[in-house]
């Protein structure tokens, strides 16, 4: 798309675009290129000298059992959060869509967790499930489960999934509701006239029409779990117990900050960049093709 009418001259537009360009180059391209460059270097322990080691940092990563474990943890964590946050959101959205007027009121009551910081969400959930003082941990212990997310990796993961899902349901709900309301009522009525019951109508008419929204939300949710849950993980488990809740992003932070392994950390960053670029590219191609603006 092009504007027919426009201004001529090029000093003014360059001046207008300059602030954004400067910030983007200094705080985006420069660090991103440094990350790539650094991933091919090895620094000595004091950071005094560095030598070019090619792909050694990358190969080193794939020899670490911890890296595979972080990968598995990330996959488990993302799939669980994606599954729960999307199915709960879809359930709530279909119910809110049944009665438009109530739908608006419930929308307000359901969307505000979006505004809560991930780290704060984590803190709220630790408080509820704290092994000794948590209001909800006590009944769990009362029925004989030795609930302790500080010591038990599975319990820690459950707590992370719950808080990350809680925080993200509102977002998915919002988009599902918008998607549902965009489906013409006449299509659904036609289905009803043909004798399809509510469940049949949902699975054969509504759900397929929602698939672009669903796909879009799947990508957004995975990106959310990768990056924004850093605050939840750091506040709730700190990657523990014994590294059992360390995800790929958390490992970049932990290796760079605590381990001082900048080359390895940079190599991990580059791998993450490739994953995100791939995800975004898939999303754009798919959404561009499927969604009519």
């Amino acid at each position: 798309m092009e504007k027919r009418a426009h201004f001529s001259g090029w000093t003014l537009p360059l001046l207008l675009i300059l602030p954004q360009m400067a910030i983007t180059v200094i705080f985006f391209y420069w660090p991103a290129s440094q990350a790539i460059w650094q991933s091919f270097l090895r620094e000595d322990a004091f950071g005094l000298s560095s030598e070019f080691v090619g792909f050694e940092n990358y190969l080193g990563l794939f020899e670490q059992p911890e890296y595979y474990r972080a990968m598995v943890t990330t996959v488990i964590f993302s799939s669980l959060v994606a599954f729960f946050s999307m199915s709960c959101a879809l359930l709530l959205a279909t119910q809110a869509d049944k009665n438009i007027r109530a739908g608006h009121a419930f929308k307000t009551l359901l969307i505000w967790p979006y505004a809560v910081a991930p780290a704060i969400a984590g803190v709220l959930w630790i408080f509820m499930f704290h092994p000794t003082l948590g209001t909800l941990a006590r009944p769990i212990r009362a029925i004989g489960i030795d609930w302790n997310p500080m010591l038990n990796g599975t319990h820690a993961m459950i707590l992370l999934v719950l808080s990350a899902t809680w925080k993200h349901v509102s977002y998915n709900f919002l988009f599902f509701l918008a998607g549902l309301q965009a489906i013409p009522r006449s299509v659904i009525e036609a289905g009803a006239i043909d004798g399809a019951g509510p469940m049949r109508r949902f699975w054969t008419i509504v759900f397929p029409l929602l698939s672009p929204t669903t796909f879009f939300l799947l990508v957004v949710t995975v990106v959310y779990v990768f990056f924004e849950t850093f605050g939840i993980i750091d506040a709730v488990t700190g990657g523990g117990p014994a590294g059992q809740t360390t995800t790929l992003v958390y490992k970049v932070y932990a290796d760079g900050r605590l381990g001082g392994d900048l080359g390895g950390s940079a190599a991990q960053s580059v791998i993450l960049m490739i994953i995100v670029i791939a995800l975004t590219a898939i999303q754009f191609r798919y959404v561009e093709r499927k969604v009519q603006y």
Partner: protein, 281 residues
């Protein structure tokens, strides 16, 4: 709905009410905890109705801080506010200018410039965290508001949003302005800016929340406790040895940390949704 079935309606309401309760419960507990003294909470028998320590907890948290952090939360809230406002306003300013240049001017490298900005959409600050840290440190921006704000506004969401909006404005408006003798500056100020107000407000809501809720970046670049934001501050309150955690202060802080962004979402709901839906696409 097609059928008018009271039972289905009832189930819909029931599901939604349960949903609302589940969503609200963690926050309700935090609010309750902010009204009790430490001993009641540590015992694990905290009642689900408010206690009588609210005034004490909120004054202490805001003006004196917890035993561990020793930093009044008021100062952290001011830091969070400056950061959130800086990110929201800074991003609006740079992106409305660059979108104006890209849409309304023809100049060499216009396409290239647009792509250079556009690519930043793909990478959140988290993946290039150490190199960015190093650059901010080399520029002497650690523990400064500029250092907190700048790297987080280096992305294209705003530019894209304004570009999309400008594309929907009819060409005739510019032609009419030109006939009236308006230059690029006049057209921007008198025509484009007033038309963009809703978009600006929507972007403001989204970016304010994004800025207020930042975690990893402020965690890395702030070393002085006087520069801490509230989202970081709360974590320090709960990570010390268990017995020393002052849960009533931590929960009071959590409640305070939620108030500004949640209020923004509730009161600006329409704009929030518009901003969200449009920036994501």
């Amino acid at each position: 709905m097609v059928e008018n079935r009271p039972f289905a309606q009832f189930m819909a309401y029931l599901t939604l009410v349960i949903g609302v309760i589940v969503v609200a419960f963690p926050v309700y507990l935090a609010i309750m905890a902010s009204t009790f003294d430490a001993a009641t909470i540590i015992n694990g028998n905290m009642p689900l109705i408010p206690g009588d320590q609210a005034v004490e907890n909120y004054t202490r948290t805001l003006f004196y801080g917890g035993k561990q952090a020793r930093e009044p939360v008021m100062g952290m809230m001011i830091n969070s506010m400056i950061m959130a406002m800086g990110i929201a306003l800074g991003k609006i300013l740079i992106s409305i200018l660059s979108a104006y240049a890209v849409v309304y001017f023809k100049f060499p490298f216009r396409k290239t410039a647009f792509w250079i900005i556009f690519i930043t959409l793909m990478l959140p600050v988290e993946v290039r965290i150490y190199p960015t840290y190093k650059i901010v440190a080399d520029l002497g921006l650690l523990d400064t508001y500029v250092g907190l704000i700048m790297p987080l506004i280096a992305s294209a969401t705003g530019t894209l949003l304004f570009r999309q909006f400008f594309m929907t404005i009819p060409d005739e408006l510019l032609e009419a302005s030109k006939i009236d003798g308006a230059g690029a500056f006049r057209f921007f100020k008198d025509t484009l800016l007033p038309l963009s107000m809703t978009t600006i407000a929507a972007l403001f809501v989204i970016q304010f929340i994004y800025g207020w809720n930042q975690y990893l970046w402020p965690l890395l670049i702030t070393t002085k406790s006087s520069m801490q934001t509230i989202v970081i501050g709360i974590k320090k309150m709960i990570t010390t040895t268990d017995a020393l955690t002052e849960w009533q202060i931590a929960m009071t802080t959590a409640v305070l940390a939620m108030v500004p962004p949640v209020l923004v979402v509730i009161f600006m709901q329409r704009l929030f949704v518009k901003g969200l839906v449009e920036t994501e696409k």
